[in-house]
């Protein structure tokens, strides 16, 4: 903690926000590795519909998740304007396909509020908390739920 710059109070967080189907979402910027343009993904047979496939990230095979489909919306077609946000949580790295990246937000922890309990919406479990910025609702995604599970041990 001591090595944090003084200008950033301890309870501030930085979030990367992006747009999917006219909705704003964001993730903790600390888990974002890089942002890259759309490249054609190689589809994986028998994978869930939200798994777009795999792409070559400088020699490693990176699974790409269609965030729109994952959140229960229309799948993203994959056009040049789309962006892949490479995130890494707990040793799992994956690309999130989003419509466009919008902003980097610095907000205080106090501004983030837990989502109300609305029942069994498939996308609800992926949302960790909510945030109001200039009257706009931004959903903070829980990457641990979004990303595929860490490998299970065989033996």
């Amino acid at each position: 903690m001591a090595d944090l710059p003084n200008t950033t109070p301890e309870n501030d967080v930085e979030l990367l926000s992006f747009r999917i189907s006219e909705q704003e979402y964001c993730v903790d910027i600390m888990s974002v590795r890089e942002i890259r343009g759309w490249t054609r993904a190689t589809p994986l047979p028998y994978s869930p519909p939200h798994v777009k496939g795999v792409i070559n990230l400088r020699g490693t095979v990176l699974p790409v998740i269609d965030l729109s489909a994952r959140l229960g919306m229309e799948p993203i077609d994959g056009i040049d304007q789309n962006v892949i946000v490479v995130v890494s949580v707990g040793g799992t790295t994956a690309g999130l396909l989003v419509d466009a990246v919008s902003d980097i937000l610095t907000v205080s922890q106090d501004e983030i509020q837990p989502p109300p309990d609305i029942g069994a919406d498939p996308s609800a479990c992926c949302i960790e908390s909510l945030l109001l910025v200039e009257g706009k609702l931004i959903r903070v995604l829980d990457l641990k739920v979004l990303l595929p599970n860490a490998p299970r041990d065989a033996a």
């Binding site: 190689t42 994986l44 047979p45 994978s47 070559n56 020699g59 490693t60 699974p63 490998p151 065989a154």
Partner: protein, 724 residues
């Protein structure tokens, strides 16, 4: 910790320990096979001795205490006071296993493993009334420390042949080290003049090493130098230090009998109970040994046993007295090798990209470009092979671990089992070895627990009471074949069938071939042991083993004959990094089929296709009918094959010899691809083994065709996926 210079030396000591343990196991195995010769016993003795020596240098008291008592027993055996009967050897094996545990516990800073005292007491009890007379050795005060300088002390006899020699007393004074001189280098230079025997004189009031006194000389050396050396030459060696040391050079006429001096290793055999100076490091209590070692470290003298590249096999602290000629080796961080492997992988991809862009530029047909690319390709391939060879390791350590598993398992189920190993030196990729350990352990336990019968039962059946498990490794057609064979009862097929029916795995009226019954063992949820033991039958069964082997790109087959035994064969790829593949297209996707699976390719001809059932097609290839699958459909990329479309058929073979035909749209090229893991994120994808990066930077999936069509035989892959 990270900046601790001792940490590195310490970790290399533990690496060395692993090697010593290996040679100890080897020696014990040889003894177990009936060879009780001096050399074998000595190898075992020296291994324990070196471990003790190193442990002493680092102040690992527990390890010193344990290995000291172990060493004492080895000494008794060496002296012939303790006979090497099978029971003794068994106990020695257990002690060696425990020694390994103690070393690991020391390394990880864990508590001493249980049972060490018991086994030592049991071992010492073997001596009977003779009692271990060894304790006095622990109490002796160190007087000197012998340094052997490389190639100079292989043989002591030449020192007694009556030649002229010199006795040189060399006492550094303060200022010698601070002026940048180094006693070790001087002693080395001396040894270049002729054969030397160096004795280090340690003062009785040697202070503990501190940072302040690190450059204060406390030790002095007595050097016996033999040969026609003139005094001037000797003096020359000391030229630079003449004013900062005391030097006495005396000529000795007649022989220098170093046998009565602090003896060197070469005479250890004739002197079973020496108070040898070479033992000082090891046999003494840790305190003085630590002192010697730590003083010598800042002076860059060889620290006792670890970390020094041993020069001659006769060094007292050297484990490598095995019959095989020791090869010069370098210890390299695995990380660095992996980095190299990755880089070479990139190189291969890059080479492919370059070839592609040269083609695109339209200069690919110019002879000099062509030959340049060709030799580039050959070089890349050679580099890749060499790098892969670095990663290859013999399976021997793995097999030794299995030997321990056999000992422990057989003891706990009351069976007599002997593990025989073959092909210990077969080299396999390190990752394969590592990931093979768990499934192999499980299979070995199964073989002991379920495969072999109890001794009484075996006798009844006219077999020797001792069961044999043969563990073998060999290279076969670009793959590694590992076989586990027991001479037990074989698979009880009626019982397997009955269990499978009871567990609802098969229908009660199902007609199964023997092979199919055997393969039920691999079905999840199957366990035949009527008595669930602590060893096997913990819920994980052969299905887990199979999954692990499949994950390695391997296949497992089982053969069994009632009353004769069971054999499990595992076939594994040599490396997990590259593969020769055929790049094909199906349903708009580029895919790679391993070349090893393809027998031949043929054109799809409508009149050769026959229907077996509405949805099942066969193809006639010469006089044989093989099941026909559409690759795109099998992978779920398209719903059905376009009936009239032309296509190419790949005839593929499965491990059990069955064949199948796969329809692809086009064959692109044949090339070497670098295997990239898909990760476990989405579980196992049926029919897909891994991925690779093609020349255009795109990812292509590498297929496991046998898996693809095997699923097809059972049910549609879609259903299977739904079940998973």
């Amino acid at each position: 910790m990270s900046n601790d210079p001792m940490a590195e030396i310490r970790s290399s000591f533990f690496v060395e320990c692993e090697e010593l343990l290996e040679s100890l196991q080897d020696a014990l195995n040889i003894m177990d096979e009936g060879a009780h010769d001096c050399e074998t016993i000595n190898v075992a003795f020296r291994a324990v001795h070196s471990i003790k020596g190193g442990a002493g240098a680092f102040g690992f008291d527990n390890l010193v205490a344990f290995s000291h008592r172990f060493e004492t027993m080895m000494e008794e055996i060496r002296a012939g006071r303790l006979a090497l009967i099978p029971d003794t050897i068994k106990l020695l094996f257990i002690t060696a296993d425990l020694l390994q545990d103690v070393i690991r516990a020391t390394r990880d800073g864990a508590a001493e493993p249980a049972g060490t005292q018991e086994v030592l007491i049991a071992l010492e009890a073997l001596l009977g009334e003779n009692g271990p007379p060894a304790e006095e050795e622990v109490d002796f005060t160190p007087m000197g420390l012998s340094f052997d300088f490389g190639d100079t002390t292989e043989d002591t006899t030449y020192l007694t042949d009556g030649a002229t020699g010199w006795s040189i007393a060399f006492t550094p004074e303060s200022g010698l080290y601070t002026s940048g001189n180094e006693a070790l280098l001087i002693l080395r230079s001396l040894s270049q003049l002729g054969a030397t025997k160096v004795t280090c004189v340690v003062p009785t009031d040697l202070p503990a090493p501190t940072e302040e006194n690190a450059e204060t000389p406390f030790l002095s050396w007595l050097v016996h130098l033999r040969g026609d050396v003139i005094e001037d030459d000797i003096r020359q060696v000391f030229d630079f230090v003449a004013d900062v040391c005391q030097l006495e050079i005396e000529q000795i006429q007649g022989g220098i009998d170093l046998g009565t001096d602090p003896p060197s290793t070469a005479v250890e055999e004739e002197k079973p109970r020496p108070a040898p100076v070479t033992d000082t490091v090891a046999a003494s209590r840790p305190e003085p040994a630590v002192t010697c070692a730590e003083v010598s470290v800042p002076e860059q003298a060889d620290p006792p046993p670890p970390a020094n590249a041993s020069l001659t096999p006769t060094r007292p602290l050297n484990p490598s007295t095995a019959p095989s000629e020791p090869l010069a080796t370098v210890r390299v961080d695995l990380e660095k090798i992996d980095q190299l492997v990755n880089l070479v992988g990139e190189l291969v991809i890059n080479q492919a990209m370059l070839t592609q862009s040269v083609e695109k530029a339209g200069v690919g047909h110019q002879p000099d470009v062509m030959s340049g690319l060709e030799s580039f390709m050959t070089l890349t391939r050679d580099i890749q092979e060499s790098v892969m060879m670095i990663r290859a390791q013999p399976v021997k350590p793995l097999f030794q671990r299995m030997a321990r598993i056999v000992r422990e398992t057989s003891a706990s189920v009351g069976k007599e089992v002997r593990l025989r190993t073959e092909g210990d030196n077969t080299e396999v990729d390190k990752t394969v070895i590592e990931r093979l350990a768990d499934p192999l352990t499980h299979m070995i336990r199964n073989a002991v627990d379920h495969g072999l019968e109890l001794p009484d039962k075996r006798r009844e059946e006219g077999k020797p009471a001792e069961g044999v498990i043969l563990l073998s490794a060999s290279h076969r057609a670009g793959r590694v074949l590992i076989e586990i064979e027991d001479d037990g009862a074989g698979i009880n097929r009626p019982k397997v069938r009955e269990t499978a029916i009871r567990k609802g795995l098969i229908a009660p009226d199902a007609q199964l071939t023997e092979n199919e019954i055997d393969n039920l063992l691999f079905v999840p949820g199957f366990s035949t042991a009527s008595k669930i033991s602590a060893l096997s039958g913990r819920g994980v069964g052969m299905d887990v083993v199979k999954a692990a082997i499949t994950g390695l790109g391997g296949r497992i087959t089982l053969t069994s004959a009632p009353g004769v035994g069971t054999k499990l064969s595992i076939s594994l790829p040599l490396t997990l990094a590259v593969l020769d593949g055929m790049v094909v297209q199906a349903a708009g996707q580029t895919l790679v089929v391993p070349l090893s699976a393809i027998i031949e390719t043929a054109k799809l001809e409508a009149d050769k296709i026959h229907h077996l059932a509405p949805s099942a097609e066969m193809m006639q290839i010469r006089s044989e009918f093989v099941p026909l699958f559409d690759l795109g459909q099998q992978l779920g990329f398209r719903d059905a094959r376009i009936e009239s479309a032309s296509g190419i058929v790949l005839l593929i073979s499965q491990e059990d010899g069955r064949r199948a035909a796969l329809i692809v749209d086009a064959i692109m090229e044949q090339r070497q691809v670098v295997i990239k893991g898909l990760g476990q994120s989405y579980g196992n994808i049926p029919g897909v083994a891994a991925a690779t990066i093609l020349g255009d930077g795109q990812i292509a999936l590498i297929l496991d065709p046998a898996d693809l069509v095997r699923d097809g035989n059972l049910s549609s892959p879609r259903d299977l996926k739904a079940a998973v």
